[in-house]
Amino acid sequence: MNIFVLLKRTFDTEEKISIANGVINEDGAEFIINPYDEYAVEEAIQIRDDHGGEVTVLTVGNEDAEKQLRTALAMGADKAVLINIEDDVEYSDQYTTAKIIAEYLKDKEVDLIIAGNVAIDNASGQVGPRVADLLDIPYITTITNLTIDGKNVSVVRDVEGDEEKIETTLPLLVTAQQGLNDPRYPSLPGIMKAKKKPLATLELDDLDLEEEDVEAKTKTIEIYLPQQKQAGKLLTGEIEEQVKELVSLLHTEAKVI
């Protein structure tokens, strides 16, 4: 079974985000494997261990992402591919990333692609489904269970807290929801061996792509931090008074009615 994992390097969820000159300040920030992609890596390793085959982790980014790929290799993935677009693409969006990934995968033998449900930074959740669409294979998002029997696949997906059971066949793309599994720590021998595992670095040229082919379909107009949350206001007094005050505040202060 040929399994590909789509992985993104993201900010650590515990980092405090700051913005300088309209861009997110990355100085001194910790970067991690997008937590949802960690579920994807874990699932891929488990499937490979049960069914045989090979796990390739794939990312689109710059050379800094090598660290996250090595971590996935230390967890147990077999190979890694870094498509480095730092020199070729000035501004990218989900279209760019999906197009590049699909271009890379189109002539590969792919049985299963696992991505994270969303990346915790931009949180669009688009790349996985877009890749599946470009490759013309089915996809199922936010999965919490996956069982493979030959070519047949049974999936449980999370639908806003409810469960949906779906049966389909390989090849397939799924995106991982929290609860799919419990990602392992990389083992020490895994860490020591990660350096020796193959990590290929490609650029757009290697995929016969031009910058125009992957040009972003969107533009970011502005980046700003969410408004600081104000302390809540506690109304007191008779219920009737409180209701009146609430309506008045909604009208004059919050301006929602």
Binding site: K67, R70, T71, A74, Y185, P186, S187, L188, P189, G190, I191, M192, A194, K195
Partner: protein, 379 residues
Amino acid sequence: MNFDLTAEQNMIQKTIREFSEEEVAKGALERDRSKTFPKEIFQKLADLGMMGLPFPEEYGGAGADTISFAIVVEELSKACASTGITYSAHISLGGAPIHLFGTKKQKEEYLPLICSGQSLGAFGLTEPNAGSDASGTKTKAIEQGDSFIINGNKCFITNASYAEFVALTAVTNSDGKKSEISAIIVPTNSKGFTVIDNYEKMGLHASNTTELVLENVQVPKENLLGERGQGFKQFLQTLDGGRIGIGAMAVGIAQAAYEKALAYAKGRKQFGKSISSFQAIQFKLADMAMKIELARNMVYKAAWLKDQKRPFTKEASICKLYASEICMEITSQAVQIHGGNGYMQDYHVERYMRDAKLLEIGEGTSEVQRMVIAKQIGC
């Protein structure tokens, strides 16, 4: 000159830090109270392949370097010093002498037990009248045919209740003036070998500290570890490595105390503001940050020298001495910053302070470290 950790060291640090925060820290307070050995944690560390960290792959180890060892000891100790000392002793006192001085056969027999975590590593040097002064060693090994018959007592031995074998020092020959001291590997299930685990300690309550009693314990002569008569020299060499472990432990405990004190100082309001805005508290915290930084650098330097196969005796002593003394100071100041709360167990810092004291004593007291350094600088 390059102060960056390697990719592997970074990944090991991130992994063991997450592991320590999630698996080790949570029960530390309760284990200290109930004096419960962290057995499950060591099973998990074994699953992560950490138990054979520096030993060669052919014996089931991971072949990682001493800096990685220091990183793991620091992070474990930050979460739970009892776990840290158990791990440090396992590697640097239990496994290292076998790796350094064992024959191929001995390595094949004993190192896989260490690397898999099936046996914890333990080392029997200290006696009621001997430790850094080996001349007081009373444990005797008398030759009888192809065997040694060993009699004696060892005290303060870490991990022995969970060890399948202990390398220990014994007098193998004595002409009345000078004793010939050798190291011998003794299986703990030998007839006449008793491990007593009933010390009432000041701290490190969750670690296993034992007395060993040997009464006519018979082991084959081939259990001699390294050269006959070189036992003490070998153990000095072993202790050089062990001191890096103690230094790393001290950095971990100090870091934990500092972080707790900083967070507390920011949150605690007196006289209308956070106590962290008072210079008296700020200076304490600044001193803590400074000393931890210095201690960690020294631990890394000693570890680096060892990895470069250069002499590191002096640096190991310096890192052990400095780190353990600043750890004692910092944990004491952390209690001070916490005020009355700090004296209570729930705030953790009093445990750090009790745990820290051992570091000024074990594997050579601060005074012995000064003797080592003095000798190294030519006194």
